[in-house]
């Protein structure tokens, strides 16, 4: 039993069709518990009022937007090294999900920033690097869509993903060059003394877990779609060849 078994599309389809109801159910439960708990059963912050509650969408989606790129990096490396198609397709499937999380992070941040900072958008280090991450997702998706041959597309996007993670990382720290901007530092941590109080932290952790499982669900679902669409294309090609 090794993880490489799932490089076989058939095995992947079997296992994922079994796992999909469970992970999607778990995502629904975690998100429902976390969001309802966060929205209705936590007190309002004495300074921020009810706007503090957007944290339950903002922080998890921002975390997953970054993590999704790393998942794509892993998928791309596996494709380049071991040529497993499922891994390349999983990276392809994760990109739009990551882009969506990026947009959610930006939009919820703007909605929170308008009453709190008095502005929808500021050229703050974190905001800027996040926007650039979104642009990287766009370029990656566009390259997948533009290259006709599937294997070439997988090769090219994998190289782009690897180089892109270097640059995404670099722009992340390049923008720190400006003085610490409006965005506060990390508000969640396991070890630091000062962080958000437990009453907000527990529903927040639940939401983060929910977003992680949601990401897994969506990637599994989209990878299955990609595999199926590739099978259809292969079938159609075979029919044309036979006719």
């Amino acid at each position: 039993m090794s993880i490489w078994e799932y490089a076989n599309p058939k095995k992947f389809m079997q296992t994922s069709s079994w796992a999909l109801p469970w992970v999607s159910g778990l995502a629904v439960v975690l998100l429902a518990v976390g969001l309802v708990w966060g929205f209705f059963f936590t007190p309002e912050d004495y300074k921020q009022g009810s706007t503090v509650k957007i944290i339950y969408l903002h922080v998890p989606s921002a975390m997953m937007a970054v993590s999704a790129w790393f998942m794509m990096l892993a998928g791309s490396l596996i494709w380049l090294i071991r040529r497993h198609h499922v891994s390349a397709l999983a990276a392809k499937a994760a990109a739009p999900v990551g882009l969506t999380f990026t947009v959610i992070g930006l939009v919820t941040g703007a909605i929170w920033g308008q009453p709190m900072w008095g502005t929808w958008w500021a050229w703050d280090p974190r905001l800027t690097s996040f926007l650039i991450l979104g642009l990287f997702y766009l370029g990656y998706i566009a390259l997948w869509a533009a290259v006709e041959d599937a294997d070439t597309a997988a090769d090219l996007t994998s190289v782009l993903c690897i180089v892109g993670s270097v640059f995404a990382f670099l722009s992340r720290y390049a923008v720190l060059f400006w003085n610490q901007g409006l965005h506060q530092g990390a508000s969640l941590s396991v070890d630091s003394e000062q962080h958000v109080s437990d009453i907000y932290a527990f529903p927040l952790w639940t939401c983060i877990a929910g977003f992680v499982v949601l990401f897994v669900t969506l990637v599994l679902l989209r990878t299955r779609t990609e595999i199926r669409s590739r099978r259809i294309r292969a079938l159609m090609a075979r029919e044309r060849a036979g006719a």
Binding site: I132, L135, F136, L138, G139, A142, L143, A146, V147, T152, D155, L156, V159, L160, I162, V163, G164, V166, F167, L170, S171, A174, V175, F177
Partner: protein
């Protein structure tokens, strides 16, 4: 490698079009911005570093898709791929040739455009230094983008979508160095970081670009 460099330079200079285009574009940007924001000196001198860097970056971008496309179409790139010269070396030479015909003229003309944009007198040294150190990174990153998109029919648009986000660190440090130099602040740190980006790109990106070319030529 030298022969390849000479060939590329000769093609760029004699075939026309590509060589002057970037420069003309850079000039147009520097002329259009004061017309757009108004000829007020104080405002112009404040935004001049950013405008000059953005202009140089876009001028660089203009000629990128020609870097491999012509050789890809007529098959010369296939010959280079099977020649004893490693593909990484081909990519590095192509990027060097692109820098010599696009980046270097931009560096030379930039102080003149600085006058047009009333750049403060302290900024010229830093403008020259930052463009000199930063424009190789533009050519190298662009070479990687060009290698990724060489086989595409509508490559130009995707090329800019891929390359522009990667230009961000270069742009930030380059414009920051000039801005700090212009107001007399300490500008060495962004300049050194800029040099680091160029050197790092020169060390890594030819390999990535060669990998992309191999995938495209397969």
């Amino acid at each position: 490698m030298i022969a390849l460099l000479q060939r590329d330079l000769r093609l760029a200079l004699r075939a026309g079009g590509g060589f002057g285009l970037g420069l003309a574009f850079f000039l147009m940007v520097a002329v259009l911005v004061p017309l757009g924001v108004g000829p007020e000196g104080a405002l112009l001198s404040r935004i001049a570093p950013g405008i000059l860097w953005v202009g140089a970056l876009l001028a660089c971008l203009l000629s990128l898709d020609r870097m491999f496309a012509l050789d890809f179409e007529d098959g010369a790139l296939d010959l280079m791929a099977v020649s004893p010269l490693p593909l990484e070396g081909v990519v590095a030479m192509k990027a060097l040739a692109h820098w010599l015909v696009t980046g270097l003229p931009l560096v030379v003309i930039a102080p003149v455009l600085g006058v047009l944009l009333s750049l403060p007198s302290g900024g010229y040294v830093w403008l020259l230094a930052s463009l000199m150190l930063g424009s190789p990174a533009l050519s190298l990153i662009g070479g990687f983008g060009a290698a990724l998109t060489v086989g595409l029919k509508r490559g130009g648009l995707i090329l800019s979508l891929i390359v522009l986000p990667m230009y961000v660190p270069t742009l930030i440090f380059g414009a920051e160095a000039v801005r700090r130099g212009a107001v007399g602040a300490e500008a060495m740190v962004p300049l050194l970081l800029l040099a680091a980006i160029s050197l790092g790109s020169a060390a890594i990106l030819p390999f990535a670009a060669a990998a992309a070319l191999r995938a495209n030529l397969k």
